[in-house]
Structure formats: C-alpha cells, structure tokens
C-alpha cells in the first residue's frame, strides 16, 4: 500500500513537471523577441540638452584575495593558461579603484524610449574564462556566445525574469545567439563543466549602463535632464545607489564606496 503511494507521488511529480515544462525543454538558442517593432509611445532623448554622469567605484579597506582556480579538471584549460590562475571577483587598483562594477540608471527615465541595437554583443569562452566577465546588454539585443577554446563548454544562464537555458558547445568555434526579453540586473552565466567559469550580464531597456575598468571609472553619456537613481553592482560586495539630478548639458560626478568584507561599519 505504501509502495503504491510512493509510486503515485513519483508519477505525480513527473506529470506535474511535464505540464509545467510543456514546450520549454528544448535546446532553443534564443527566446522570441517581444514584438520589438511595436515600440511604446514615449519621448526620444534630445541629445542637444543631454548631460552625463561620470564617477568612480572604490573599495574601502583591504579587498580579499581572489580565489585560486584549479584548472586540473581539464588539461586543455591548463595548457591555455600558464601559471597560477585567480578568479576575477576583485579587480582593484593601487588606490582602491574597483573594476567589474556594473553601473546603471535604475530609476528616473520615465517615458523615454530607445531604439534597440541589432548588432550582437559577443560573450567569448576563451582560456576557460568568459570574456567579458561583467557586461550589459539591451532587452531584445542579441548576444552571440562563442566557444574559442579547443575544449567543450556548456553555457548555462540562470535568470529569474528571463528563460533559463543550458546549451552545449563541444566544438571549438561553435556559436549561438540568444536574446533576453525582460529587464534583469544581474543575470549570471556559468559553465557546469568548468565550475570556476562565471559571468554576469545586466539586461536593461535603456542604454545608460557601464562597467568600471581597472581604474574604477565609468561614464553614462547622453542622459536627459532629470533626477535619477544610479546603482552600482558588484558580484560580491552587493549594490549601492546614489541620487543624481542633472540639469541641461550638465555633467555630475558620483562616487560609489564599497566596504571590503570584514571592514568595521560605522
């Protein structure tokens, strides 16, 4: 009797899973764009009056050492990378400038509308790492994912607002294109073959985003006058926000300070 209940439970789970996943289990390489031609009514940015926000991301205190990567699970990865390999979590300049920080306008754009770029961004798997590690893309803008390595990778996106996918690229030079259809900051990628490989993409419906380099600097150009919430996101240190009000043709400078883990808070 109990065995029968277990059977029923198991079969029920299978049936439920089948219903939930109906039509979604394939290896499709892209989601269908949500009617890009039907642009909502709204105002276009007047570049003649636009300003910009510049700034820098800094880390206060000593940044933790990046985790060492053991690539011995794949001889090809060892061959492609000479010497000790580290994660790219903390990219820090000599003065505490923090790289790989995604900075974007979180709020304040109102009804402005923007054309969606049609040229694809490239996410490359090279040297058993993702290039770039942190980047931004527009909603409905294609991302071309390339395997430049002479080994296999699986590209596994783990979104919350978009559709998850996991595709294999066993042959060097393989490409696939994917388009995200909903805003999402941040959306992680991982390779389940090489557990250390990870990347993050911010998917936005506007062009006001940037990723800080090793100098910690960023610039958001062509912002129309208004009051904005600017957010800076780091994969380990979390997010920080600042309010900025821009007048016509004005440039404002914003600093983001992240506290290093273990640093005493006020």
């Amino acid at each position: 009797m109990r065995l029968r209940h277990v059977w029923q439970y198991t079969l029920g789970l299978v049936a439920a899973a089948s219903v939930v996943a109906c039509g979604g289990g394939g290896q499709s390489t892209s989601e269908k764009p949500s009617s890009p031609s039907a642009a909502p009514a709204g105002q276009k940015v007047d570049t003649a009056t636009a300003g910009s926000v510049t700034g820098m991301a800094m880390i206060e205190g000593m940044a933790p050492a990046n985790e060492a990567i053991k690539m011995n699970a794949d001889p090809v990865c060892i061959k492609e990378n000479k010497g000790p390999q580290l994660q790219e979590t903390y990219v820090v300049g000599s003065g505490g400038e923090l790289g790989n920080v995604f900075v974007y306008v979180k709020d304040g754009l109102g009804n402005y509308v923007f054309d969606t770029p049609t040229e694809p961004l490239t996410l490359d798997q090279k040297g058993c790492r993702y290039h770039p590690h942190v980047f931004g893309v527009r909603v409905n803008q294609p991302i071309q994912i390339v395997n430049s390595d002479p080994t296999l990778h699986n590209i596994h996106a783990l979104p919350k607002a978009n559709q998850e996918f996991n595709n294999g690229q066993p042959i060097q030079g393989m490409k696939m294109t994917h388009t995200f259809t909903a805003k999402e900051v941040m959306l992680p990628f991982k390779c389940d073959v090489h557990g250390w490989m990870n990347a993050y993409v911010g998917v936005l419906d506007h062009p006001y985003f940037a990723v800080t380099g090793t100098d910690g600097k960023f610039e958001l150009k062509s912002l129309p006058p208004g009051t904005y919430t600017i957010e800076a996101w780091h994969e380990k240190l979390g997010a920080a926000t600042e309010k900025v009000t821009l007048a016509e043709k004005e440039t404002k400078d914003v600093m983001f300070h992240f506290k290093a883990p273990g640093t005493a808070t006020d």
């Binding site: 789970l13 299978v14 899973a17 089948s18 996943a21 794949d74 066993p170």
Partner: protein
Amino acid sequence: MHLFARFVVACTVVLVLAGSLVTSTGSGLAVPDWPTSYGWSMFTFPPAMWVGGIFYEHGHRLIASTVGFLTIVLAVWLWLADPRRWMKRLGAIALGVVILQGVLGGLTVLFFLPTSISTAHAGLAELFFCITVAIAVFSSPGWLRGVARVDDAALRRAALATTILIFGQILVGATMRHSDAGLAIPDFPLMFGGIIPDHWDSKIAVHFAHRVGALVVTLAILGSAARVWSRHRRQRELTGPATLLATLVAVQIVLGAFTVWSRCAVWINSAHVVCGALVLATSLVLTLRSWRVRFADGTVRLEPDTTPDVRTVRLRPDTTSDVRSVRLPPSREASADQRAGA
C-alpha cells in the same frame, strides 16, 4: 541468483555514490542534453571529452545504464527461474523503477534540476536500492531455509517503523541537498550558536528538520537494536544487521557533522549520502528478517534444512537416566513457522 542479486546491490551502491558526486560537485548540468551527451550517443561519447563536471555526470549516466542492464538480467532471471510469483513481480517492479529512475534523471537535466524532480530522483534511487536489497534477501539461502523465524510483533513494528523513518529522513536530506540548504545552518552541533535557530526561512527549516530527523532515526535504530540484543541475542541473522545498523548510524552522524564543518566537502558529503543508503538497506534487512515468520512458503521449494527440528541436549553423567540425550518438543518459534508455512 542470490550472488547476482548481491552484485546488483553492490553496483547500485556505486551508482548512488556516482549520483551523490554529481550533486556534490555541482555537475548536474555539465552535460546539457539527454539522452544524448553533447549530441553523441551516450555510449560513443569520446572519453577524451570527459573533462571537468562531464566526468561525473556522464560517468553517472554510464553506471546507471549498467545497473539498468543488470536489472533487466535480474528481472528475466527471476521470471524464468524463481517459482514464487511475487518474486517474479518484484523483479518486474525493479525493472520498471529503474526505467522510471532513468527518465527522472533525464527530466531533471532537461528542466535544469528543479528541486521536486531532483528530490524524486534521489528518493526513487533509494526505493530501487531497497528493491534490489529485498531481492537479494529473498533469494538468500538463509531466507529460503527459513532461519531467523522470530515471532516478535514488537520487533516487527519497531523495525518497520525505523525503516520508514530512515526513508523519510533520506527524503528530507535529499530535499535539503537539492535546495542548496546543506549549509543553511552553518554550525554544528549548535545552530547559529544556540540549541535552535534564532531565525528561520525555508532552507533553515529543511536543514533543521534533517537534524531533528537524525535524532529521531537514531533513537528508533537504538530501540530496534536494543530489542534484538535483549530478546534475540542468539539469532545472528538479527544481531548482525542490528549491530551493523547501530554502527552505521554512528558513522553517519559523524559524516553529517563533518559535512557541515568541511563546508560540504565533495567526498565527505558524498560519503554521507552513501552511508545513508547503507543505513536504510541494513534496516530493511533487519525488518525483512523480523517479518520472515509472516512469509508463507507455499510456492517455493525450500532447500533441505540443515538445522535439526529437535534440539539435542547433553545431560550430565550423574543423572539417574541412562539416556544421554533428550529429544525436546519443537520450540514455539518452530511451531509458528509451521503455521506460517501452512
């Protein structure tokens, strides 16, 4: 056949280990397609490509296929050679379960490891393991001879309850494992520095339930074992699994502690999963043997029983009787056997 059944059991233990390594290394989606592997047939996928997480996931699939094949052989063998109708059915059930298990494994890959399917996959693995263990027990010479026919209702209830509790505990553990709650409570034996957690969410609740479950299961095992040791000390068929069960649960608790202390180190975590399966299997053996008296033998021809029906007792020479041995009447247990056999 018994030896072959034991071989299937051993292979299933290896399969459980391989499955636990897949989860412990986070390799569940290293091969994104199923039943193919990166477009190749599972059996022609080049070994040179078994790198990183693929080694664990693809290895798990190949071992599972081997166990599936062995189960087909076992089921056919039972169907052709075992006179007991229910054993034929058990073989067929084992085959059905292993097929369903394979399908669940495929579904969990195609749907990106949802907790419900992954947990069902883990739970069904334990059920399949139990079926193979049961087949090995039912085909053993000891079972066919009818040894350990102890008629102890309290032991039967305790052993059965213990086995069910262990299975439930494994399901909670699988839920914890597949919902990334293995370190939801990061310290042991305390919980966030106290006896119970000072804050809660769903992961902490599952983790807490697994710890409470461990306590309950340990008490149940000790209760069953104590019953065996106190009432059936001379029944090695019962004391063996009872002692092994108590030992395994002690090992399991230590492994559980080290799983937390080591921050879910791959091999410790996997050993914890395998040891849990062994605890379940041992409890099942004890349960089946305690229920042996209730199994009718009407359809099976028992092998010649080497155990005499009478007990021989040597008397001291200074007795007044010339008789040096006395035939005692059949014991109460033997009478119960006869009733069951009838």
